[in-house]
Structures are given as C-alpha cells and as structure tokens.
C-alpha cells in the first residue's frame, strides 16, 4: 500500500499543495458528473461520434448500439460523480484517483490531439499531443502516489499509519 512519506507530511507547503490539487480535481470531476446527471438530454454520443484514432471503431460500435450507449452514458455520469466525491472528501481516494486516471486516459485516447487528426467539436485551447486531459491524468497519478487523504480526508479514520 502506498504510504505518504513522512518528509511530505512534515513540509506543510508541499503537503497542502497536494491537498489543494486533490480537492480541485475532485471538484472538477464532481461537477462534470453532476451536470450530466441533471441534464436529461446529455449523451456521450456527440463525443464518441467525433472520436479519432485507435478507438474510433469502438466509439462507432457504442453509438450504434442503444444498450452500449446507455451503459456508456451511465458509467460516465456516475463514474465522474463518484470519483469527484472521493477526491473531494478524501474517501477511498486511492481507488478514486486510479479510476479517475482511467477515465481521463480514455477521454484522451478516444480523441487525442495528434498531428493530422481534425475534430469538428469546437476546441477551447491549442494543443499538440499534450492536452489538459493528459495533464489531469498525470496529476491523478501524482495524487495516487501521494495519498494525502490519509492525513486530510475521511480516509484518516480508516488509516492506522497517521
């Protein structure tokens, strides 16, 4: 099990930096999830239809099958919400950060900003290979490696090593 190194715990500046990162990413996930849950018309179809690169075939399979699309919509809505709550509250954060990382990596792989791939969705920034998804996935990796919830967060109550 990953344990937070004592030198990090003792350095408030480093430690709280990681806590803030965790809470902000948690907030982002939580709102992404809830905003989809409360919008009865939201569907992952639009994103999937615009998919390019290695997963575009899988994306088409999902969109063309109503059952798969419903599963994809629910996994996204609930997955994002639960991961968000996990990171924000510091509860089961180890699993939350790993799951979040898988989600974001999939978003990246379904529509990576690689050379030669053009998307019809309007972009909100300028990216070459690296985009905010990739960066957020890496940030979640960092959070997995530094489980601050063992000190600040509900995980503290399940952890003996504090």
């Amino acid at each position: 099990m990953t344990i937070l190194h004592s030198s990090i715990k003792e350095n408030d500046f480093q430690f709280y930096g990681l806590v803030v990162l965790r809470v902000l990413i948690g907030w982002h996930f939580l709102y992404e999830g809830i905003s989809k849950l409360i919008n009865p018309y939201w569907s992952s179809a639009a994103y999937l239809l615009d998919s390019k690169w290695i997963f575009s075939g899988l994306a088409k399979t999902i969109v063309s099958n109503p059952t798969l699309l419903t599963i994809s919509d629910n996994v996204n809505m609930w997955g994002l919400t639960l991961v968000g709550a996990s990171l924000l509250l510091g509860l089961f954060t180890k699993y939350g950060s790993l799951t979040g990382m898988v989600f974001i990596c999939l978003y990246y792989l379904f529509a990576p900003p690689l050379l030669g791939l053009e998307y019809s969705r309007p972009g909100e920034g300028s990216y070459l290979i690296v985009n905010k998804n990739l960066i957020e996935a890496c940030a979640l990796w960092v959070l997995y490696c530094f489980p601050t919830s063992q000190v600040i967060g509900l995980d503290r109550f399940f952890n003996d090593s504090k």
Binding site: V19, V23, W27, L30, Y31, I34, I38, N39, Y41, S43, A45, A46, Y47, L49, K60, T61, V63, S64, N65, A85, L88, L89, G90, S120, R121, P122, E124, V151, I152, G153, L154, R156, F157, K162
Partner: protein, 542 residues
C-alpha cells in the same frame, strides 16, 4: 504527567484527528451551495426563456392506427430517383437497394438506412401499378413491388407496368397514385387522376406554370380527392417547434425572412448521370415532351438524352431553382408563419457558372434556367418581405433566418441535400420585449436563448457549446418517440391515413396552391423581367 493532563492531551488529539479527517467537508458544502445556486439560476433562465413553452408540447402526432383499416392499392407514375424514394416511403424498395444498404450497414455500423427502412410502419398498401417512360425505371418499379425485404414482409400484390398514365388510371383497383414525373407532367396527371377518382400524392413543385396551378386547384376541390403535395418538411418536428415559438410572439414583429440555397457541384446544379441504356427504343421521347411548350426532334439523341435525364435545367420541363429548392423553403416558412401568397414578386439572376465552356466534359447543351437567382416576395398587409437567394456555385451554408424585432431564428434550411436541421433563437440586443432581461443579464444576446437539435431531444434554454454546434450543423435525423424515421415515409403515411379517415393531409391543396402561385410568380418575374402582382379576387397574375 497527571492523569487529568494525559486525558486532556488525548481529547486534543482526537479533536485534531476529527478536524483533519473532516477538513475538506466544508469544501463539499461550498460545492453544494454553488451547485444549488447554479441550478436555481439555470431554472430561472429557463422559466424566463422558451423551454417551458416547447417542453410541454410533444412531437406532432402522426401515428394513426391503420392496422384494421382498408388496404390501399397504389400506383407510381414516374419511378425515377425521387419516385423510388417515395415508394420506399410506402414500404417498397428494389432488391438492388436493399442489398446495397444492407451491405453498407455491415461495413459501417453508423449507417442506419437499412434499419430505418425495415423499422418503418407497414402502411397496409400494395404497389400495383408502375408507369414510366424509360423502360429501366419501369422495371425497377416492378422489382420494388416484388421485393419481400420490406416492413410487413411478403407483398400482397405485385405491380403491372403501364405505358401511359391514362392506362394506369383506368385500372379500377388502384385507389391512389404517387406522381413523381418531371414538373411539366404534374398538372395533367393530377387532373386526370382526380377525374378518375384517384387520390394524389404529387411531388413538388406542384406545377410548372401559374395556369396549371389554377386548374389543379379547381380539379382537386371539385372532385374532393385527398391531395398531398410532396413537402415532407411538414412532418419535421423542428418546424413544428419553430411554429410554436413564432406563434407565441417570442421573435417579436417579423418584417424580414431570408431563405437561401447553397450548392456547389454539377450534381447539385442537376447535371445528373445519363443512363447508358437510354435511347429512343427504351425512352418514349415524344410522350415525354408532350406537355412542354417547345418540342425537339430526337435527332441523334444527344440533346434529347440530356434533356430527358437532366430535365430540371430547362424551363420546358421544370422551373429550376424555383420549383426544386425555393418551393421547399417557401413551404417551410408557410408552415411556420402562414404567409400565404405574396402580393408582389420580383426576381433576377443568370447563368453565370454552369456553361459548356466551364464544364466541357459534363455539359453538352446549355441550360436555360439560372444558376444564381434571387427573388423578393412582398406581403404589404403583413409588413413582411421574404428574400430568397440561391447560388449553385458556392456551398457556404448560409441557412435561413426569420428576423424579428426581439429575436432571430436561424435555421439550417432544406437546401443542403434535404437533410433535416435544427435551429437556434438569439435575442436582439435592442429588443423591446426582452429589454429588462437583457439589462439584468438574464438574457445575453451573444448566446442563443433557445436551441433545437433534432435527434438529441435537446430542448433547453441553457446549452453547451457542443450541443449548439451540433444543432447548427444538423448532424442527426428526425425522430419520433426515440425512433429514427424518414420524413418522406411520414409524409406518405400522412397521405394514406388521410385517405382512410377522410381528413386533410398536412400539405393539402390549399397550402400547395400557396407554394405553386408564389413559385410561379417568381419564375414569371424572371422570364418577363418585371414585377408580378397577384390579384386574389380574379385569381390572376398582373
């Protein structure tokens, strides 16, 4: 250390534990408060905008039960490209077509043509007569009537070929006919069919000339047949929603409507393929040109073949942009706004792009219908001008706009190959009706106050950039109860259901007459080079 001090230290530790464990819970509280405020703000926005209006009303109900009703025998007169589509709308496709779309669906899972066709409702009818002046087309029609790959399975009857429409109409077993010939035959066949007591689905434009429009109107009224004009836009949900918005006065007073056609290919300019089997043995050329004002001998067949297969390029057989494309957009606006027949029409244009010189490999004989054309329709009694502007040499998707004092509705239009588009309503920054809400920031004139995106059921005043984009692009299709449907099928079904229950179909002769007269006025203005006025009392053009 005393016992008391030790206990106090433990309590402090526990408290510190608790505080650290719950440290981020207040952040969750801040999140929830802000979420609640956002939801409340969105709800206020929606209540202030248009979504409540449209959400309450469901999709137009076209699902009438036909299962126990009378079986109808139909005939098709003119089994070309459009005729084939209409007959598919009735539930009959050629074996070649079903094989091709089945294979396409196997190759591309997103290709739903086969599924959409097979999930069409069985309309309880048979295709029993086919009339076409080109042998190959007639054979395809017969083939379609025999193909058992169709909604409803094995056809009850199959079709007989007729050389002329008179012979087909003489068959007492035929209840109704679909007319999808070139426009110059529409009037004569409709009148003959009405006199023979057959119900008529006539493809647009309704007639080639104004005089024909009067004759068709009178014949349909006198005989009382069920007449449907082929504007399938009447079945499109987006237009019903647009009508609700307009009727509620949410656009404010509308003084200008802009309609556009934007195409940029020889195919879009009606340079369709000349069938290799087309010759004076397989085509009844004399019959084809019977109602046209100018007759051309077959000769070496080159010009005759071009005219036969690309008939929209000549005023002898059609009216070019007027009957083919303006007619659809005009009828859509008539559906939304009930504009009726204009008082004055002027039009102008020219043949600026599609000439033999520019396209020597495609064009053998110059057309006489324009490829850039503009028309102005005046409605002084309604304080309204309708502008139509068409280019066949630029595909810039300008869309259609209903411009109100308080808001503008931007629609995709029907000219992009017939696809079904959504629409977006944006408030005017100087609107009177929305002034208070603009001032208080509830309405932002830079963002749509209403977006309708077909297929996604997106009926919402608060939409994301992505859904706005898809609405404008019109990526999807028309839906009924979550099922994808072809509006052409709905339009044929509406006609057959109306025949059975004696009701009026959605594009009946009254609204069809509006389209026919408006388009005829525009064509006549171009040909005569002057303004045309409608005299509704004497039913004349001045």
């Amino acid at each position: 250390m005393s016992k008391k001090a030790k206990s106090s230290k433990n309590t402090n530790l526990e408290r510190r534990d608790l505080i650290k464990g719950l440290a981020t819970v207040p952040v969750a509280g801040v999140f929830l408060v802000n979420l609640w405020r956002k939801m409340k703000r969105d709800a206020t926005k929606k209540a202030n905008l248009l979504s409540d209006l449209v959400q309450e009303k469901s999709a137009p109900n076209v699902v009438r039960s036909v299962s126990n009703s009378r079986h109808l025998n139909i005939g098709i007169i003119g089994y070309g490209g459009r005729g084939g589509h209409l007959v598919r709308g009735a539930g009959f496709a050629t074996k070649g077509w079903t094989d091709t779309v089945y294979k396409n669906a196997q190759k591309n899972k997103l290709d739903k043509q086969f599924d959409t066709f097979m999930s069409q409702e069985d309309l309880n009818c048979s295709l029993v007569g086919v009339c076409d002046l080109f042998d190959n087309n007639a054979e395809l029609g017969i083939n379609a009537s025999q193909n058992e790959i169709r909604p409803g399975g094995m056809p009850k009857n199959t079709a007989t070929r007729y050389r002329t429409h008179e012979e087909l109409l003489a068959n007492d077993n035929i209840d109704a006919v679909i007319i999808a010939t070139p426009d110059h035959w529409h009037a004569q066949i409709t009148i003959d069919a009405a006199k023979a007591g057959k119900h008529v689905y006539c493809e647009k434009g309704m007639t080639r000339t104004f005089d024909e429009a009067i004759k068709v109107y009178d014949a349909v009224k006198e005989t009382g047949i069920t007449f449907q004009l082929g504007h399938q836009n009447r079945q499109v949900e987006a237009n019903e929603k647009a009508r609700q918005i307009y009727e509620q006065g949410l656009l404010g007073p509308v003084n200008l409507v802009e309609l556009t056609t934007n195409r940029n290919s020889p195919w879009g300019a009606w340079y369709w393929g000349i069938h290799p089997d087309g010759n004076n043995k397989t085509i009844d050329w004399e019959r084809f040109q019977q109602p046209s004002p100018n007759k051309l001998p077959w000769g070496n067949g080159k010009e005759a073949l071009e005219r036969f297969f690309r008939w929209r390029c000549w005023f002898d057989y059609g009216t070019g942009l007027s009957g083919d494309l303006l007619s659809h957009d005009f009828d859509t606006i008539n559906q939304i706004m009930d504009i009726g027949i204009p008082k004055y029409v002027t039009s102008s244009g020219g043949i600026y792009h599609y000439t033999k010189e520019n396209y020597p490999d495609i064009i053998g004989y110059d057309r006489d219908v324009p490829d850039v054309w503009n028309a102005t329709f005046e409605y002084p009694e309604r304080d309204l001008t309708l502008l139509y502007s068409a280019s066949l040499s630029s595909s810039n998707p300008r869309g259609n706009r209903i411009m109100g004092h308080d808001a503008t509705m931007q629609m995709g239009g029907q000219s992009g190959g017939g696809s079904i588009h959504g629409f977006v309503v944006t408030a005017d920054e100087l609107s009177t009706q929305y002034k208070d809400r603009l001032d208080s920031g509830i309405i932002n004139p830079n963002y749509p106050i209403y977006t309708y995106s077909p297929g996604s059921k997106q009926i919402d005043g608060v939409t994301s950039a992505t859904s706005r984009y898809f609405a404008q692009k019109g990526l999807l299709y028309t839906y009924r109860e979550g099922k994808r449907v072809d509006p052409t099928h709905l339009h044929v079904k509406d006609w057959l259901d109306s025949i059975r229950d004696g009701s009026q179909p959605r594009c009946n002769i009254d609204v069809g007459f509006h389209e026919a007269v408006a388009c005829a006025m525009a064509t006549e203005s171009y040909l005569k080079g002057r303004r045309i006025e409608w005299d509704p009392v004497n039913r004349k053009l001045i």
